[in-house]
């Protein structure tokens, strides 16, 4: 019933993402879109680091790439990643939004507009408020919204900001997020 999963995270989310990707079976039926902030100087090597333990292939997409199920798409460093009608990725070097490029909000808003009630939006640990508005859009357009339990987050600014702006559907620990994703057929 769902068509895509989108995950946003920043400081403290790397290990969570690694665990989530590790838990996904190679037959995972949806694309996983990853909009993650990274340190300015960690521009390369991130996708390789995530790939090592991932159950599904992780790619940094090219502009206008077709989105396929069973793959994770990591927003490339220093680009915004948008989702477009026709299930395509669009990249952009427009100015950072809230000091962030990629902007989690922009990825989430465009994904929500494309997948609407067929989207699962997940916000993880992070040190700023980027993503809160995006998750609200997911909810407004009928998608399912999940935040990592702030008690478990290394940095809880992002999840708390999200919960303040939106009545999220679920507050889950990493294990619960994994269990939920594994239940998607």
């Amino acid at each position: 019933m769902y068509k895509a999963v989108i995950i946003g995270g920043s400081a403290g989310s790397f290990q969570v993402i690694t665990r989530i990707l590790h838990s996904l079976p190679p037959t995972f039926p949806l694309p996983v879109l990853l909009s993650l902030h990274r340190l300015k100087h960690v521009r390369s090597g991130f996708v390789e680091a995530l790939s090592i333990k991932s159950g599904i292939p992780v790619v940094e997409p090219f502009d206008k790439d077709q989105i396929k199920p069973g793959r994770a798409y990591l927003a490339p460093a220093n680009y915004h990643m948008f989702i477009e009608l026709g299930n395509k990725i669009a990249l952009s070097t427009e100015e950072p939004v809230n000091h962030s490029r990629p902007s989690i909000d922009l990825s989430f808003v465009t994904a929500a507009q494309v997948y609407r009630d067929k989207l699962v939006g997940i916000i993880l640990s992070g040190a700023n408020r980027d993503g809160a508005y995006g998750l609200k859009k997911v909810k407004d357009l009928g998608g399912l919204t999940i935040v990592q339990d702030p008690l478990e987050c290394q940095v809880k600014t992002m999840t708390e900001a999200s919960m303040k702006l939106t009545k999220v559907d679920h507050v889950y620990s990493t294990n619960e997020i994994i269990k939920f994703l594994q239940s998607i057929k």
Binding site: R43, S44, F62, P76, Y79, L91, S92, T93, E95
Partner: protein, 279 residues
């Protein structure tokens, strides 16, 4: 302010009818976002925007500048510059001239990065540098070659990676001082390129949609990075045709790190790393 598909069509038609710009073949999603931003920044609605475009050439020109994207930085994507240094530029070292076109050069950081690299490779004197952009304001900034220090301080790290270090040999370190190429004035918050760099390139206003090749030259190397992401498939193909027909045989086209040639022109190039070499 939400811009509908129809609003966007009206906006594109207005520009087409009242200016020399045609945005019909820009990627509509990104164009829509830019228009939404302009409307929000200026507190206008689409009808107001279109009326103002009809009434004033200067306003229309200003809007065109605002909807185009001008991100650039010194030695953006060091891997790309390593590729240029180790595998692309050496191909031209026995040429009499090396003609390089920076298409969509924005405020010029890529142009200066290239000249610095050419100079370190002792190819500077052979090179002829052509640089173009749609936006005359960014060209003025490019000609001036002066940048905010605090916005660019992070990119000095890229300079170190590309110019001082050699990724193929970690023991090699060339301690090239910054002031060989630019003056840093922290009090005035400026980085200013040296005169021998600013006076070399030929900067021209140019529209990739309709202008063809402005220069009476063909090119050994064309850089067009993070420009075609704003174009649709049609316009991308037109631009690839323009580049292909204006490259010398074995000339190279360099796109952005996450751009690729889709469609018929892909077969007319072979790839060296991320660079496209004309067959």
């Amino acid at each position: 302010m939400n811009v509908t598909d129809q609003d966007l069509q009206y906006f594109i038609s207005a520009l087409k009818n009242y200016t020399k710009y045609d945005f019909s073949d820009y990627s509509d999603k990104s164009l829509k976002r830019r228009v939404e931003k302009v409307l929000a920044d200026r507190n206008l609605d689409v009808t107001g925007l279109i009326t103002s475009i009809k009434n004033s050439q200067e306003f229309a020109e200003l809007i065109v500048k605002e909807i185009t994207v001008n991100t650039t930085e010194l030695f953006r994507d060091p891997q790309t510059w390593h590729l240029l240094r180790s595998r692309i530029l050496p191909r031209f070292k026995n040429n009499k001239n090396i003609n390089i076109w920076h298409a969509g050069c924005s405020t010029g950081q890529e142009v200066y990065s290239m000249m610095i690299l050419l100079n370190e490779m002792e190819l500077f004197d052979k090179a002829k540098i052509f640089a173009t952009d749609l936006n005359s304001d960014v060209l003025d900034a490019a000609k001036k070659g002066q940048y905010k220090y605090r916005f660019n301080i992070g990119y000095l790290d890229n300079f170190d990676k590309v110019i001082k270090q050699n990724p193929l040999n970690y023991e090699e370190f060339n301690d090239v001082p910054y002031d060989k190429y630019f003056e840093i004035d922290k009090a005035k918050d400026t980085i200013t390129m040296k005169k021998f760099l600013t006076e070399k390139p030929i900067f021209r206003k140019h529209d990739l949609v309709k202008d063809g090749n402005l220069f009476f030259a063909k090119f050994d190397l064309i850089l067009c990075r993070n420009v075609i992401i704003y174009f649709n498939y049609n316009l991308q193909n037109n631009v690839f045709e323009l580049f292909h027909s204006n490259l010398y045989p074995k000339g190279c086209l360099l796109l952005g790190m996450h751009e690729t040639i889709l469609g018929p022109w892909a077969t007319k190039f072979e790839k060296i790393g991320q660079a496209y070499v004309k067959k």
